[in-house]
């Protein structure tokens, strides 16, 4: 996947006019899907905003504008831009006009108003006390239920504010970014080789997808040619990560409806896959395997054969389990019709991954914007239209089979040769990359100079999908919230970074 940079648009003439921005429109009149938008500072201190869209072509459509004059919010044209613009406002302090809700997103009450982490000095930032106003739903019989940030389980922190009437949810507001670690800023000044460890620590259960997306961005920036064997082994790692994640999510759905046999069997199958990884490459989650230019270790034929045998065995067991679980009437009763995300909402909020495909949005980076070994494989993308918990469960079950097939076919025809090529930034460079992580489209953009990173932007699928989750919860009973939330399976740390 490459990106085509478009010529810069002229900035607004007077200080009081907002810089205009019109969204790219497709041939059928619909608007292009927003992939990400983010701020950056050019080498001479120029303030810039970079917009990335998907126009249904193999290359992403990229455009950049100057942010010296106030920016016009694009939320009214692309509702998906709401959190992106809020984050940019927090990080850079760019003035954004006509945004419906510019409350602080990334930092909570402890952070002073006038400090913007990506541009200001952030050593010893004082502790502040800022108020935060949740949206209040008023009326007879309406109560608020506050959940989090510390949840009742082995789960990441985040806050949910429900407004309910009896059992029924009228409104749900998210307040996240409790796990915000300033990761994008931490990339700055690191070498390209050091950055990969940070990428692996963005979302712990999707660490290989993050590592590969980061490495590909560096490779596209250089540009380096990735050895064919490394590309094929990366595909095996990415699909294995998807298997582990989908099996785990399916078990989680069983847990949340009290179907303990299914949950226990799913955790066992997941552990089988992790142990197979540990035997094959010394790491359960493929941490430390990807490096810019390829892979740190090669897998011999015997190791790959053992791994594929374990995968086939696990997938067979999983399919048996999934068949039984999804045919059980009490499960169908809970899964069907729960947490419906309508297709128009999914489109407006530019939702990605399993959640999009369960709501009738036919998207998959592996097929639409292939890179590495994905350019060489044929794959089917399962799509369902109901948008409920059952649809998201079924998509995962189907994708497990697709991933298993991709692993087997790639392992059977593994190209020979080296697994690592040298990579070195020479001058000022930038590069982008997209990977279909288990949660959906993951996009990295890096910029560097003399082997040091100057900017790294991470668009995680969770950041894009979280704002859609409340739309699936509204009108359901509050007791179904854990189930609906699990069926989305979004990462808090991946979103918060």
């Amino acid at each position: 996947m490459n990106e085509r940079a478009q010529p810069l648009q002229a900035p607004g003439k007077s200080e009081n006019r907002e810089t205009p921005f019109s969204l790219p429109v497709l041939a059928d009149g619909s608007r292009a899907r927003l992939v990400t938008l983010f701020g950056r500072i050019g080498p001479e201190g120029q303030r810039r905003v970079r917009y990335v869209f998907d126009k249904g072509e193999p290359d992403y459509f990229v455009t950049e504008i100057a942010a010296d004059a106030p920016l016009a919010s694009i939320v009214s044209q692309a509702p998906a831009a709401a959190w992106f613009e809020r984050e940019m406002h927090d990080q850079y302090g760019f003035e954004i006009r006509k945004h419906p809700d510019l409350r602080p997103l990334v930092f909570h009450g402890n952070w002073p108003d006038n400090v913007h982490a990506m541009v200001d000095d952030v050593t010893d930032v004082p502790w502040a006390q800022r108020d935060y106003q949740f949206l209040q739903v008023q009326g007879e019989g309406i109560t608020e239920v506050a959940v989090g940030p510390v949840h009742a389980g082995i789960i990441e922190p985040g806050h949910f504010r429900f407004s309910v009437v009896g059992d029924t949810v009228l409104h749900l507001e998210l307040r996240h970014f409790y796990t915000h670690k300033g990761t994008e800023k931490l990339f700055e000044g690191r070498t390209a080789g050091d950055g990969v460890m940070l990428a692996e620590s963005v979302s712990g259960d999707n660490c290989f997808a993050h590592a590969v997306a980061y490495c590909q961005a560096v490779e596209n920036a250089c540009p380096a040619s990735l050895p064919a064997r490394a590309a094929a082994l990366r595909l095996i790692g990415l699909e294995l990560e998807r298997l582990v994640c989908h099996v785990s999510d399916f078990g989680g759905l069983c847990t949340d409806v009290g179907f303990i046999v299914g949950a226990a069997l799913a955790t066992r199958i997941k552990e089988d896959l992790l142990q197979a990884s540990a035997r094959c490459c010394g790491t359960r989650y493929w941490r430390g395997v990807a490096v810019p230019g390829g892979l740190r270790l090669d897998l011999d034929l015997a190791a790959v054969a053992r791994l594929t045998r374990s995968v086939e065995e696990s997938v067979r067991e999983f399919r048996d389990l999934a068949h039984v679980v999804l045919e059980t009437p009490s499960i169908q009763n809970r899964f069907e019709g729960a947490g419906i995300l309508k297709k128009n909402v999914a489109r407006d909020l530019a939702v990605v991954g399993v959640v999009a495909r369960a709501s009738g949005v036919n998207l998959d980076v592996r097929r639409d914007h292939p890179s590495g070994h994905y350019e060489l494989v044929q794959m089917t993308v399962p799509v369902l239209h109901y948008g409920d918990v059952m649809a998201r469960a079924r998509i995962r079950v189907e994708e497990v089979s697709v991933s298993a097939r991709l692993i087997r076919e790639t392992a059977d025809a593994l190209p020979p040769g080296p697994v690592r090529a040298p990579v070195q930034f020479t001058a000022a460079v930038s590069g982008a990359s997209a990977v279909e992580s288990p949660r959906g489209e993951l996009y990295y953009w890096i910029e560097g100079r003399d082997d040091r990173l100057t900017r790294c932007h991470i668009k995680s699928p969770s950041f894009q999908n979280w704002p859609a989750m409340p739309f699936a919860v509204v009108e359901n009973m509050i007791a179904d919230f854990p189930l609906i939330n699990k069926s989305f399976n979004l990462s808090y740390s991946g979103c918060d970074r």
Partner: protein, 266 residues
């Protein structure tokens, strides 16, 4: 139907890993170990230079130069193994889990090429009583203070049929008010600091606090970030530490049992 699944499952041999095989196991954790007979001054300075978190460093101790390895800082990136010419190797056994902070540090004398024995500390009488009180059936409340979810994934694995934490009478509970132990992961972010203090206060005394993972023990890669306060002990008192990035389920289990003084009991 479901009965078939249960029947098939029952026909298989048990997956439970026996306790002897779990203790000191670290498969898949990528923790390093040192082969002292191969260690040279040159190798020591080279591995210290490539270490991204300062887990490896050369230092002067009582007039002798030595290599220092702090497992609490180690993220298992494997770079030291790459450049260590056989002096640094992936650990085969690992017993530095569930200990106090200073006990996670090992040192090797570079001229004599031997490990310097750790100074033994006095056993803590109060802690002994707490262990006795809590040792039999332990309730753990897991607390994520900003982790990447890697440690959570491995902690969840403790309840699967391979590790089955419940065989020791240890349970995860939903409320800090029901807990004896806080198992804390992640660097503490600015946004979580207040919630971490409140959760600690909500656990009734006597309580144990165990910091988990490189980030929990030392801040890991996130130490020094503007959005992070620091390691867990920068915000609440911590009794013991379980290193790793993330620690494998076996390391977590040995660590928890070590804290309880039950590592050698069945």
């Amino acid at each position: 139907m479901i009965l078939d699944v249960i029947q098939r499952s029952l026909r298989r041999p048990s997956r439970l890993i026996p306790v002897e095989a779990l203790m000191e196991s670290c498969e898949g954790s990528r923790m390093p170990d040192v082969q002292p007979e191969r260690l040279t001054v040159d190798i020591a300075s080279r591995v210290s230079a490539v270490c991204p978190t300062g887990a490896l460093a050369t230092e002067d101790r009582k007039g002798r130069s030595c290599l220092r390895l702090s497992y609490g800082h180690c993220i298992g990136c494997g770079r030291c193994v790459e450049v260590g010419e056989g002096a640094l190797v992936p650990a085969a056994r690992f017993r530095w889990t569930g200990l106090e902070k200073e006990q996670l540090v090992r040192r090797w004398d570079l001229s004599r090429r031997v490990e310097i024995a750790a100074e033994t500390s006095e056993p803590d009488a109060v802690r002994g009583r707490v262990q006795k009180l809590l040792g039999r059936a332990l309730n753990i409340r897991q607390l994520d203070t900003g982790s990447c979810n890697g440690c959570e994934a491995e902690i969840s694995a403790l309840t699967n049929p391979y590790y089955d934490l419940e065989r020791w009478g240890i349970h995860f509970v939903a409320s800090p008010k029901h807990a004896d132990m806080l198992l804390v992961t992640g660097p503490v972010t600015r946004n979580m600091a207040d919630a971490v203090r409140a959760t600690y206060e909500a656990v009734p005394a006597p309580k144990l606090v165990v910091a988990v993972g490189a980030c929990g023990c030392s801040g890991g890669l996130f130490a020094g970030s503007h959005a992070v306060v620091g390691a867990v002990d920068a915000v609440i008192p911590v009794d013991r530490y379980i290193p790793g990035c993330p620690p494998s389920p076996a390391m977590l289990l040995s660590g928890i049992l070590e804290v309880l003084g039950r590592r050698h009991l069945k």
